[in-house]
């Protein structure tokens, strides 16, 4: 799929912008705090229906405006489709070709994206929350139905947590929520394990390609209820049975401590470098290579499902050193996906593979095309 045009109105600091983006590479450049990441965020919001930086929509609307709108034309598996996303205090709009969307999966079938941004260093060096959400996002990229399981599991978990906190729920009540938690948890863990199977091999290869052959072998595994041997798929019924067992042994502790102590919401993705968890020792540069390899693995897993999400890379200039940058460009040259890049210095990117590039300069919320690729 390719986003061939993008139009925003009253988005962040951009009053209005129209971009013709029918190219393999779209480069947004400008100094810091001018709005280039805002445009990338608009593409992400169009593909994900939420921002990667802001949960309150009010902050997405330009200062002193009432509503915000993003329009995009996508050319993909189902031909040309026009997407419109808009928000105001009174309404939210999601339209494909002028028709309101009733099922989110219809939307995600048209446009999907994979994002790499500076904050993603936390996937390697931060807490398990970031790593779990990476696995869930990767599972969603290839199989959007994963989102339903994640949401339902989270809802049951929140009910159970509230019940435990209230200290009014007897064993029978807690067990009623546990039965559902176990069913959904089994599905969640099995889907994550399947996602990990899809990611593992592409991850090893992508890491070798980005970090270079001498930087060690990087591998992935899950820790906790959903752990599996490399390449092993889990049977949800088996995980559910194990989960039920753990829930019933842990029931008294959970009631006493008023907390949910067992379940896949406490699992962790372990990224190993030469057999040791990278979280404990990876340098900034190693962490970036690993995150980039995770994202490239996500793209490859999607490709094997016949999908080609957009690849959005924010602020590469500050993220990668010269040699990693050169190797990344070699990897990008072999992909079919449309790639969006933001950078403060386009010369630093060097010539992009294939030369199929459109560039825009972003200054103080104004967006202007560059006819000549900058020297």
């Amino acid at each position: 799929m390719r986003l061939v045009s993008l139009e925003v109105a009253d988005w962040r600091n951009v009053a209005s912008a129209q971009l013709d983006t029918n190219a393999r590479f779209v480069v947004l450049h400008g100094d810091n705090a001018q709005g280039k990441t805002n445009l990338l965020e608009a593409v992400w919001t169009l593909s994900n229906l939420r921002s990667f930086r802001e949960s309150r929509y009010q902050r997405l609307i330009r200062h002193e405006c009432d509503s915000v709108q993003i329009d995009g034309m996508v050319v993909g598996e189902s031909g040309r489709r026009r997407l419109r996303w808009a928000r105001s205090a009174a309404s939210r709009t999601m339209q494909i070709d002028g028709q309101n969307v009733r099922q989110l999966r219809d939307w995600f079938a048209v446009l999907r994206a994979v994002l790499f941004c500076p904050e993603h260093g936390a996937i390697i060096r931060g807490g398990p929350v970031e790593r779990r959400s990476f696995v869930d996002r990767a599972a969603f990229t290839t199989r959007p139905a994963h989102l339903d399981v994640v949401r339902q599991y989270a809802r049951v978990l929140r009910h159970k947590a509230a019940l435990l906190r209230s200290r009014k729920g007897g064993r029978v009540q807690v067990e009623s929520w546990n039965s559902q938690l176990a069913l959904l948890g089994g599905q969640l863990a099995a889907r994550r394990a399947a996602a990990l199977c899809d990611l593992s091999e592409p991850f090893v290869e992508a890491h070798r390609a980005i970090a270079g052959p001498r930087s060690g072998v990087a591998t992935l595994r899950m820790r906790g209820l959903g752990r599996a041997a490399p390449g092993e798929r889990l049977d949800p019924a088996v995980v559910t049975a194990q989960f039920i067992e753990k829930l019933s042994t842990g029931l008294d502790d959970e009631i006493r401590q008023a907390r949910c102590l067992v379940g896949p919401h406490r699992d962790d993705l372990v990224v190993d470098l030469d057999g040791h968890p990278a979280r404990n020792f990876a340098s900034q540069g190693q962490a970036r290579s690993l995150v980039l390899a995770l994202k490239l693995a996500e793209l490859e897993a999607a490709r094997r499902q016949g999908l080609a999400p957009l690849f959005l890379l924010d602020d590469l200039t500050s993220e990668l050193d010269r040699s990693r940058m050169v190797r990344l460009m070699e990897v990008l040259a072999d992909l079919k996906n449309q790639v969006w890049l933001t950078t403060t210095d386009p010369r630093w990117l060097g010539p992009l593979p294939g030369g199929d590039v459109v560039s825009y300069k972003v200054a103080a919320g104004r967006v202007e095309p560059l006819s000549e690729p900058p020297e």
Binding site: D148, H159, Q180
Partner: protein, 197 residues
């Protein structure tokens, strides 16, 4: 100063859920253009609602009398009790014309996040009915969402030890829907609830 009668009418109508200012205005003008007994009939029905509608002391349905006509009807089957979340769910099952048993309205579903526990629902009276009446089966027809499912599981755990059968309303692909057009979760439920033929 006397209130403008039309504006008052629009203001009151727009308090209804799903009715905005524009629809309220349209309804008010429509009423104004009808013979005056239309507005009077509607008004009487509305103003008597709270005085005449009562909760049935047995099943907690909204009715004109307590016990309600269904609970008072000796023809209805005592042995099967259908448990629903809301009074309006009874209507949905009654319209099928295939259920001859009795009902029990819970008044909601378990939702600890919203502070709803068993004490907030009509569960004690349900258990009393089970011990007083010769009920053989409790059919749980709560909504097919996480709260409805948790409520069903909770009731099953409470009721089963007394030897009463507990069943759950099947969920799946609706009749008249072609499989390819059915939504994913309905198909998934239908697969789970498949039965031998």
């Amino acid at each position: 100063m006397a209130a403008d009668p039309l504006r008052r009418c629009v203001g009151q109508l727009s308090r209804l859920p799903g009715i905005g200012q524009r629809t309220a205005t349209r309804l008010a003008y429509w009423l104004l253009n009808q013979p005056d007994d239309v507005a009077r009939d509607i008004g009487e029905a509305l103003s008597e609602l709270h005085d005449t509608a009562v909760r049935c002391e047995i099943c907690h349905d909204v009715a004109a009398t307590s016990p309600c006509h269904r609970c008072a009807n000796p023809q209805r089957d005592h042995r099967v009790l259908c448990v629903v979340e809301r009074p309006q769910d009874i209507g949905a099952i009654e319209r099928t014309g295939t259920f001859e048993g009795r009902y029990h309205v819970l008044g909601g579903a378990l939702a600890p996040l919203d502070g709803v526990g068993p004490e907030q629902l009509n569960i004690r009276s349900l258990l009393r009915r089970l011990s007083d009446q010769p009920v053989e089966e409790v059919l749980v027809a709560t909504d097919p969402d996480v709260e409805g499912d948790a409520t069903a599981l909770y009731l099953a755990r409470l009721v089963r030890p007394s030897g009463v059968r507990v069943t759950r309303l099947a969920h799946g692909v609706s009749v008249g829907t072609e499989l390819e057009f059915a939504d994913k979760s309905s198909v998934a439920r239908a697969l789970e609830n498949r039965r031998e033929i």
